[in-house]
């Protein structure tokens, strides 16, 4: 650009180095989105597939291993404090948890996606969430599920297979409909 303000004298050719750099930058950019695309197409865990075991460290510091909950139903909800639709479903999630947690057959996990801890804690306090909630450290869990955004809810059946996926805010009726059906199944 600086050359633009120069007087129009002589014809200076573009140096091969600049041409090379331009193309390298462009190819690098294409490589970048190509890689992104490849990963996006690696695909998420689909319904009926076995979900690998993972662990969630809650805001209280407790570590929950899903492997310890074999044979139970696990509801995994991804949320963030900056996500408005998450506020909409938070009340319902807590209600659903209240309905099931005494039975001991259902585990709820709130996975806090890309957030800051004070704001996330404030969110948990504001909606009175009592089920285990914790940050998705190194975005490991969300990558495993290949989530596309928040909120998203995944329900894993007694045999450890993915039974239900909801992208967008869920409701009490939706969760209990699925969980009741899964509870009726034998492991």
């Amino acid at each position: 650009m600086s050359t633009d303000s120069q007087p129009n004298t002589g014809s200076r050719s573009l140096s091969p180095v600049i041409i090379a750099i331009s193309f390298v930058v462009l190819i690098g950019f294409l490589y970048l989105i190509g890689q992104g695309l490849r990963r996006a197409y690696a695909g998420p865990i689909t319904i009926g597939q076995k979900v690998p075991a993972f662990e969630l460290t809650t805001f209280e510091g407790e570590v929950i291993h899903t492997a310890d909950w074999q044979g139970k139903v696990i509801v995994v909800n991804f949320w963030a404090s900056w996500c408005k639709p998450c506020e909409q479903e938070a009340v319902d999630l807590e209600r659903a948890w209240q309905r099931y947690h005494l039975g001991g057959e259902v585990l709820f996990l709130g996975v806090n996606y890309v957030d800051t801890e004070p704001e996330a804690r404030a969110f948990v306090a504001k909606f009175g969430l009592t089920y285990p909630n914790g940050p998705d450290l190194r975005t490991k869990i969300s990558q495993m599920f290949r989530i596309q955004g928040v909120p998203e809810t995944y329900i894993i059946d007694r045999s450890g297979r993915l039974a239900f996926v909801k992208k967008g805010p869920t409701t009490l009726n939706e969760i209990s409909g699925v969980v009741d059906r899964l509870l009726a199944q034998t492991p």
Binding site: M1, T3, D4, S5, Q6, P7, N8, S11, R12, S13, L14, I19, S22, F23, L26, F29, L30, L32, I33, G34, Q35, G36, L37, R39, A40, Y41, W82, K84, P85, E87, Q88, V91, V114, K126, R138, T139, K140, S142, Q143, I147, Q148, G149, G168, P169, T171, L172, E174
Partner: protein, 683 residues
Amino acid sequence: MVAEIGFGALIVAFVVSIYGILAGLYGARRHAEPWLESGRRAMLLTWPLITLSVVCLVALLVGGHYEVQYVYNVSSRFMPLYLRITALWGGQAGSLVFWSWLMAAFAAAATLRKWDRDREFLPWVIVVTLVTLAFFLGLVIFVENPFVRFWQMPDGRQAVAMFAPRGATPLVPMDGRGLNPLLRHPGMILHPPMLYLGFVSFVIPYAFGVAALVTGRTDDRWIRITRRWTLVAWLFLSLGLILGSRWAYDVLGWGGYWGWDPVEIAAFMPWLSGTAFLHSVMIQEKRGLFKRWNMILIILTYALVIFGTFLTRSGVLSSVHAFAQSAIGPLFFGFIAFTFIGSMGLLLYRWNDLRSEGVMTSLLSREALFLLNNLLFMGILVVCFWGVIYPLISEIFTGQKVTVGPSYYERSTAPLFAALLLLMGIAPLSAWGHSTLKTLGRALWKPLIASIVVVIGLWVGGIRAWSALLAFWLVALVSLVTLYEYYRAVVARHRRTGENYLRALWNLAGRNRRRYGGYIIHLGVVLMALGIIGIELFQTETQGTVQPGGSLRLGDYTMLFQRLDVFDTQDGRNVARAVVSVFKNDRYVGELHPRRDFFYDSQQTMTIPGVRSTMEDDFYVILVDWQSSAQGITFKIYHNPLVNWLWVGGLVFILGTLVAAWPDREAESPRARAAQTLAVQGA
């Protein structure tokens, strides 16, 4: 039958596009006029062909042909007629057809212009436009066909295919899944078409730019031809963005208008480079500078249009806007690689022919300030671009996807936006070629003092936050400068011609539409800035659970919850509607009905806020939790000061763009203008 005709028309349009490309290439190589003419007609023909396909798809949607997968996915019996029609762009496949149709409309319009004076551009405009069109048609035909249907196979399985598999019988579902309820809003119905129009119409200036590069005719002819195209493209893109914000404000139920979501940014990026282009082409026209830069900008804008479409539709990024993951990603990637590398190769090839013809003489000249404007727009673009691709970069280097939130964008772009506002105040006062501090100061001091008076008034009025004072000062300065410019010009014209002031204003704007339309656009931006400052710096909110008869307080407002009605509607919704009375300073000001709609067909809910809207502020009530519990109903309330100036500013902005893009009364050709000058001199 209808589905076959629609699909057939698409295939014919695809073949015609390919033929047009080949005819254009051959005609250019052999200088064979008949082949060029044939290519031109092929480009013209694509529009009626795709129109036929669109008519077929709309007929299927309106007729409720749920055996067609696309119709099943996006419509239902409960949907009113207008929503069934607009469901055309409610899903991936249909919206690609719609996009191709709009693209073909612009291509057809471009073929109908007078080509006699710049015939050498024609083959390359045909080739570039039709390559883009053929790519989108290819996606529709081979990957995302909206006409595929459900079939029942002899062995009981279900299949989805365009034509009946052997032994299969048609499978006709009773009803469709219905359109996503969030999309059932006037803003949302118009938002995608406007964005698409903005996107596709940028293809035309790009095609002319490429034509100029290929032919080596690198004077400002291509810019003069495409000036109006660019303004129209920019108008639609702006409209799309404004409507999208309005939709978000009305429907998404979080009292916001812009969330820095990757897809929003994907639409914003071409707007940024397009805005920079609109400004910098003026420098090339007036002073012969920045030829390379303009070429880079138009290529960048087209590239960002394609890149943005790719981001939205390929599933690479996480976003609330993204379409479902689809197989078009890799094809899009190929097209991006092809166009980016091709454009850049061509640009570097012609680099030396694109030298500036003039010299920049003053750092305070109009062209220098325009350059600064361009740098600021590019700065915002870089911030946005980095934010969008950062998750991809972090994933490659660290293995984890780190996304950046709104605060990153807000913090990085706020100073740039403020600097742009300041520049909007100063640049119109500077002259082309030569300006000094003295000339600039003479034009600036009156509005400057007036704007400082405004700030002092605000300070006395109780506003203490320095960010707010600074923002209001900028807003005051720009509006005063703009109004003062109008005032000076009108008074001068009144003295010179004796016309009354209103007539002088009218004629003034009529004689130099681009300049005075531009000023109106600037005023629109300032008004929008006022709304944005109001909501960003002064928004307050609260949330509470109340019984009927209970109330919530926020600032000067009190909200009294009367009752909750729950009922079913004719069009398949279950509605929970709260009735609340609103008091301002304990004086009754009205009743609001925030509600929650549950759509039986798609099993989705939608919250619709109740809003009391004035130019001073919005009182915005959302029903957060409607299932009656012992504690009552939960409401969320926002107080959004000044937010309506955002929409008013948007209207002014659009008006200004229309003024700037309106055809001039005088003939535009330099020859006619020269003749006119001679006539004036002779008189």
